[in-house]
Amino acid sequence: MNQRPALDLSGLPTFGHGPRSPTWWGTLGFMALEGMGFALAAGAYLYLVTLWPNWRLSAPQPNHWPGTIVTLLLIASLVPNHILNTYAKRCAMRPVRIGMVVMSLLGLAPLVVRWFEFPALNIYWDTNAYGSMIWVLLGLHTTHLITDVGDTIVLTVLMFTHHGYSGRRFGDVGDNVFYWDFVVLTWIPIYLLIYWLPRLG
């Protein structure tokens, strides 16, 4: 087919932050499907709650303290997370490096506390369906947390190499910030379902 030049794109930039970049949209897509998975697991839990009038099935209450500490840690981590984002947008290497190290540590900290959350549930997964469901919910979020922290650590290392000096990498840092918000956000309803819903009944 014959062609005629109609548009010159030579001046376009080679990267963009946030919704301008395809990776941001890909991240959003994965959030949507993971979020859907969480919502369905939560829905399954609520379905069983409404089905059995004596829910908790005479199991002891969970100890909420480790979970509450995780919650506070996660919420606190949002502040440095967003500071990191502003530096990533400006492509400023030093503060971004510091921010990535901080965020790696703030990702590991809740994981350590998470270790103590499982025994604090005061029930095993194979005791009854209530135990199964809260282990499943906590397990899902833990997997989520581990993968994102792993990802953050790899990106941190990358930012300390010469590969870091590229617009794309700063874009990746921005997407990492975005994803961490999601990890924190999904925890809140799960926290309420695991620790506070059983206290209602």
């Binding site: 005629r4 548009l7 794109l9 963009g16 395809p22 897509g29 369905l40 194979d126 369906a129 199964s132």
Partner: protein, 658 residues
């Protein structure tokens, strides 16, 4: 819109970083295509975009066309295997009390037939068609996240092999394609068979989800300059909506299969009513996915119909906006209907009526689509070729399937014919009529693009009539035996019931239908080897995939087209407007804005890599091992992590840097 509008200051995004600001290495610029003559341009692009030679090179390919071809061939082979399952079942049922196949093998046969058709054929093949066509139709050079796409294929392949190797070892699932508990649970499903079901689901859904995300981002962000939302081809819209349905529906079946495997493997009680669980929960979760699944298969097929009809009616689709809105409406409504698969479970009356009503509601957007198609044909000058014949076959068959569907949506009738051959007839009319026939039409339409050669028109017509006759002979009488009371999933029946003759007839029809696929396969192979050369645009169609050569070069378009119309090639018959200014020594493509498709970024597309294959092997081995011990997840984590780091770690290509 004139192409000058596309670059006016007004359209530029407000916050626009100069690439020199901040701590980033300056772009190592390379040669651009501006003003370059065609011969050197092709030479540069061919070198930059090629799939490396050799076996490792082939396994590293990230070219969407190469991956799609593999997907298409693999899915077609699974169709043949699933078809052989069906033929085996039909031979056993062709007469009363035949002893060819015992109950245990029969259970495996219908389960393998169902899962193969649904998870290894129908969904992958529509997604694969999209992987091939969507990037071409939106005028870009590769799919978004090409490595993720390659990974998706490898995971799909390993899932299919896993299921079929299990079958060869007499270890195939035997609990039906939806594997209801308690039959599939730890108490009644000993051995590994139900675990095979659960994990093959996990494999195939991981791959579908990966492809769906890649498709969504390709459509939203990689459209050619000027292809605003109202100029997106209908087929691409159909794939976009489908991909959204996948993203929101598939997690449900992954949750279902994960819960099942947890119950079986580590002793949770999610589906165990004795310990506070519930068996109906399984059905709710499964059909939350299972009903949209039908639309995941059906929506792309409607997109194919919307591509075939304008091409052969010789005019743009009538009611473009109406067609787009119905696609979106069907996408939404598909989530409101799952409970109609569970009428026999004794739901509260009001709930059941609600679901009956919403099941019927979906007829409205489907009706709008059919009306627009007929109007297009009515107002056009239809040229009857094989693709259009299959569209007519689709109309005919799908209407019958829709009618029996409306019948089944009424609770009293459903209770009568529940689990009989009436239902088997209904869903084959819907699935084969609604999806396989459009797919066959699409194969004739796009085969010349993929191979550069035409399929035989004469054989095509034979194929069509053989398929129509065979299909109806096999499936229409199933309505009747169903009403007579013949249950599905039985391996034989006593002679006194008098079902022998009609079943023999059904089996003969099934063999005929199978033979139509043999003819089709012959036509494919014959066309690929001997067909007449097709040229760029053998049908004189209007969408962008026909603007490039057949088969397209690795880089799809030497220069990215600029779009001014829904049928760009019909609007710009003289010369296609194109963009310039891209680098030719690195894999550059254009990222554009979501709504208006203003060019925004010169993005680098990923280079070939072996890591997606290695990652898929690590993931696949973990899934496989996990049916034996939960510790597989722990042991598998390390290799998965290593392969993922290998995948994402920059190797110093220009594509990795900016």
């Amino acid at each position: 819109m004139s192409s000058a509008d596309l670059t006016s200051e007004r359209d530029l995004p407000p916050e626009r970083e100069a690439s020199t600001k901040g701590d980033i290495a300056p772009e190592r610029d390379g040669p651009r295509d501006t003003g370059m003559d065609d011969v050197s341009l092709h030479r540069w692009l061919a070198r930059t975009w090629r799939t490396p030679p050799g076996i490792i090179g082939a396994l590293s390919s990230v070219d969407h066309k190469v991956i799609a071809r593999r997907y298409l061939i693999t899915a077609f082979l699974f169709l043949c295997l699933g078809g052989l399952n069906a033929v085996a079942m039909r031979i056993q049922l062709s007469g009363p009390q035949r002893g060819l196949i015992g109950p245990d093998l029969y259970n495996q046969l219908f389960t393998m037939h169902g899962v193969t058709m649904m998870f290894l054929f129908a969904v992958p093949i529509v997604q694969a068609t999209g992987i091939y066509l969507v990037p071409l139709m939106v005028g870009t050079r590769n799919i978004a996240f090409p490595r993720l796409n390659a990974f998706g294929y490898w995971v799909y392949l390993s899932g299919g092999l896993f299921a079929w190797v299990s079958f060869a070892l007499a270890m195939a699932p035997d609990v039906g394609w939806f594997a209801y508990v308690p039959l599939s649970g730890p108490e009644f499903g000993p051995g590994k068979r139900a675990d095979v079901w659960a994990q093959m689901i996990t494999y195939t859904e991981v791959s579908s989800l990966a492809v769906a995300v890649a498709t969504i981002v390709t459509v939203l962000k990689q459209r050619a300059p000027g292809m605003s939302l109202d100029k997106i081809p209908l087929y691409v819209w159909a794939l976009l909506v489908t991909s959204f349905v996948v993203v929101f529906a598939m997690p449900a079946v992954m949750i279902t299969s994960t819960f099942l495997i947890l119950d079986r493997l580590v002793g949770t009680h999610i589906f165990n009513p004795a310990e506070g669980g519930d068996v109906l929960l399984f059905q709710h979760l499964f059909w939350f996915f299972g009903h949209p699944e039908v639309y995941i298969i059906f929506l792309p097929a409607t997109g194919m119909v919307s591509a075939i009809i304008p091409a052969f009616a010789r005019r743009p689709a009538f009611g473009h906006l109406g067609l787009v809105l119905s696609l979106i409406a069907v996408g939404f409504l598909s989530f409101g209907l799952w409970v109609h698969h569970m009428f026999a479970t004794g739901l509260p009356k009001l709930g059941a009526s609600f679901f009956t009503a919403s099941s019927m509601l979906i007829a409205i957007p489907n009706g709008v689509q059919i009306f627009c198609w007929l109007a297009t044909l009515w107002d056009g000058r239809p040229v009857i070729r094989t693709p259009l014949l299959f569209v007519f076959g689709f109309f005919f068959t799908f209407v019958i399937g829709g009618l029996t569907g409306v019948m089944l949506a009424s609770v009293p009738l459903d209770l009568q014919v529940h689990d009989t051959y009436f239902v088997v007839a209904h869903f084959h009319y819907v699935l084969i009529g609604g999806s396989v026939f459009p797919l066959l039409g699409a194969a004739y339409l796009w085969f010349p693009k993929i191979t550069g050669r035409m399929m035989s028109e004469r054989l095509g017509r034979w194929h069509f009539w053989l398929a129509m006759i065979g299909f109806n002979a096999a499936f229409f009488p199933m309505h009747i035996v169903g009403l007579w009371g013949m249950p599905r999933r039985v391996y034989t029946y006593p002679a006194e019931l008098g079902w022998g003759n009609i079943n023999l007839f059904i089996s003969a029809g099934a063999v005929l239908f199978f033979l139509s696929f043999v003819l089709f396969a012959f036509n494919l192979v014959h066309g690929a080897l001997r067909g007449t050369p097709a040229g760029d645009n053998p049908w004189d169609a209007g969408t962008l995939e026909w603007a490039t050569s057949s088969p397209p070069p690795s880089y799809n378009f030497a220069r990215i087209p600029v779009v001014t119309n829904v049928e760009p090639l019909w609007a710009e018959r003289g010369a296609l407007p194109v963009a310039s200014g891209l680098r030719v020594d690195a894999r550059e493509l254009i990222i554009s804005t979501v709504a208006e498709a203003h060019p925004d970024i010169r993005e680098k597309s990923a280079t070939p890599s072996i890591w997606p294959l290695l990652a898929a092997i690590a993931v696949g081995a973990t899934f496989l091992y996990s049916i034996f011990t939960p510790w597989a997840i722990v042991w598998g984590a390390a290799p998965i992590a290593v392969t993922l780091v290998g995948w994402f770690w920059p190797k110093g290509d220009p594509e990795d840097e900016e």
